[in-house]
């Protein structure tokens, strides 16, 4: 038990460290690469109207004239304490502004995640019952096909089919960002489906590979010889260890899900953080971009941490190994 605790602490420290590097990347990308936050905020055609003195004055007001390491430490401290500051031009606080969109996006991604996991586990278990059989080949080919469909194409196809041809759902969601969460949830059927179409394949392939391997292992053979029913072998004995490869892919999967949700939100005009990010990008609102990018990375790191802990719980071999890169 103390070993598990030590590993958990190690993972926590590591996650904190990874987040710090993430903050550095976001800082470098937004504030250091050609042009600082000020020149990035002011459109090029307006920049010529400012004299060098004025710009220098605004820089020192914003603290942009200080050395880069000092500025990074400040940004790092702000992000780590969830204090996202105010926007450069209008001095609006960023935190309250992105709060509701963030929650809405979390709802969308969360529901999509649950639906996807249910799909992946049922499809993966079904397919592994007879590897190479007709059902297996069909599911594998179908998921590879849907995986290859660009998310913005899938979303638009849904709009054409369900909204334009069948008239079953509204093409875009007209709820404001602070609408009751149930209203938003009810309107998000198509976005969730669109996310699933593209996202299911990745986890499905990992789970299927894990299932096939588990079903070929000695301990499952033993269970089979003991006369246990097939469904029990699949669900109770093979599934837990088959989940491990899938859990190992959590970081890529969640990051992909969040990338996808930016696109899907844009198509359906879903009132989430994706739309807020696109607005911030087009208006070059550096603090908002930093906040959303950091929170997205935080979601990925936390999901990965939870997956790592789940692996510790599922796989006794990991617990006995001293180091696990």
């Amino acid at each position: 038990m103390p070993q598990i605790l030590a590993m958990t602490v190690r993972r926590l420290v590591m996650s904190f460290f990874i987040l710090s590097i993430t903050a550095l990347i976001v800082f470098l990308g937004t504030e250091v690469l050609p042009g600082d936050a000020l020149t990035a905020t002011i459109p090029t055609e307006e920049l010529q109207f400012y004299s060098a003195d004025q710009l220098a004055e605004m820089r020192s007001e914003l603290g942009l004239d200080r050395p880069i390491p000092v500025r990074f430490l400040e940004v790092w401290a702000r992000l780590m304490t969830f204090d996202f500051g105010t926007t450069i031009v209008k001095h609006e606080p960023v935190g309250p502004r992105i709060f509701h969109p963030m929650i809405n996006s979390a709802i969308l991604a969360g529901v999509a995640l649950v639906v996807m996991l249910a799909l992946v586990i049922s499809l993966g278990t079904l397919a592994s019952l007879k590897p190479g059989g007709r059902l297996d080949t069909t599911i594998s080919a179908t998921t590879l096909f849907t995986y290859s469909m660009p998310d913005f194409v899938v979303s638009n196809l849904f709009v054409i089919v369900f909204a334009v041809w069948l008239g079953l759902a509204p093409a875009v969601i007209l709820a404001p960002t602070n609408a009751p969460k149930l209203t938003i949830l009810a309107a998000s059927i198509l976005p969730v489906l669109a996310l699933c179409v593209h996202g299911v394949a990745y986890q499905y392939r990992l789970l299927r590979a894990g299932m096939v391997e588990a079903l070929n292992s000695d301990y499952v053979e033993r269970a089979r010889l003991a006369g246990l029913p097939t469904w029990r072998i699949s669900l109770v004995h093979a599934l837990p260890s088959a989940l491990i490869p899938m859990l190992n892919g959590t970081a890529s999967f969640v990051a992909g899900l969040l990338s996808g949700s930016v696109v899907v939100e844009a198509v359906f005009k879903y009132p989430g953080a994706g739309g807020e990010l696109l607005r911030a990008l087009s208006q070059r609102e550096i603090p908002t971009i930093q906040a959303i990018a950091f929170l997205a990375a935080l979601a990925v790191v936390v999901a990965n941490l939870l997956a790592d802990l789940a692996i510790l719980a599922l796989d006794p071999r990991v617990r006995t190994r001293s180091q696990n890169g």
Partner: protein
């Protein structure tokens, strides 16, 4: 799919082109279809300027015309020939992705082999950077870098390279670690070869199949992301023809002329479907497992 492939030493001839594995892979209709789609797309991208009946940004007729012999796919909202734009719509995204991913695969391989073979602290440092880079959803990371560097091809290539290096590092590192335990690496070490020689002469040749897969898969994924960004208005901009951009333009007429949206959507999807089915068939035939592709 679960069997672990025994690594084979490099064969210097191109015998694999005639190998039984390749023939078996191509006898599967899905793999063959994938290969045909990819080849067709590459030819189209290369030959588009020769095939296009009109200049892609010239206004040649009334807007939103239906297909006719004069305009094979009609004209778009401002009266440009849609057929010329459709066949040229993948060129920039493909070129930028291919060059960017080529750089990413080279740098990712170097870092991955070093991390996997040297191990220890070096490995630890490289992998934590990988974790951090991969924690930022790639669409957001690309968008941030584009904001800083711009959207010309000269800026997009390094952006793609920077964003996609880290996934390659992870895959190559894992494979290097599993190769390092095999006898031929051990015997090279016992012969007293330097670490550099082991990495270059023993490990690298055995990664070639995996590298081919990585290149193809990541090019298709980069094309997807760049199209998505163009669709969102952050990537390739007017008047360059680009499928993502064309889908976005077509959303305005989705209720009246849905095929304006479907044509670029079909072109983009068929490219990605082709790459994925081709890679899937080939990697199965050459014993590269799902887990290795992580």
């Amino acid at each position: 799919m679960a069997d672990i492939p025994v690594s084979t030493p490099l064969r210097r001839s191109l015998g694999w082109l005639r190998s039984r594995r390749l023939r078996r892979a191509l006898s599967e209709p899905a793999t063959l279809m994938g290969l045909i789609l990819v080849v067709a797309h590459l030819l189209l991208a290369l030959l588009a300027p020769l095939l296009a009946p009109y200049d892609t940004s010239a206004l040649v007729g009334a807007p939103l015309q239906h297909p006719s012999w004069e305009f094979l796919m009609g004209t778009d909202q401002i009266g440009r020939d849609y057929f010329s734009r459709i066949i040229a719509g993948g060129r920039i995204a493909l070129m930028v992705s291919f060059l960017g991913i080529a750089i990413a695969v080279v740098s990712g391989t170097v870092l991955g082999i070093i991390a996997g073979y040297i191990g220890g602290r070096t490995d630890e440092i490289i992998m934590r950077i990988v974790d951090a880079m991969m924690a930022i959803p790639d669409l957001i990371l690309i968008a941030i870098l584009i904001l800083a560097l711009g959207t010309g091809p000269g800026a997009l290539i390094p952006v793609v390279a920077v964003v996609y290096t880290w996934g390659v590092v992870r895959v190559i590192r894992a494979k290097t670690i599993s190769l390092s335990t095999l006898d031929f690496v051990r015997s090279a070490e016992l012969r007293g070869e330097t670490r550099l020689a082991v990495m270059v002469r023993e490990i690298l040749p055995n990664l070639i199949g995996l590298l081919g897969v990585e290149l193809a898969v990541r090019v298709s994924s980069a094309v997807l992301r760049i199209s998505a960004l163009s669709f969102l208005g952050l990537g390739i901009s007017q008047p360059t023809p680009d499928w993502g951009l064309m889908v976005q333009e077509a959303m305005g007429v989705i209720f009246t002329d849905p095929w304006f949206l479907l044509l670029p959507a079909i072109m983009l999807s068929s490219l990605i479907i082709g790459v994925n089915f081709m890679v899937d068939g080939l990697s199965r035939a050459f014993g590269i497992t799902t887990a290795e592709l992580g």
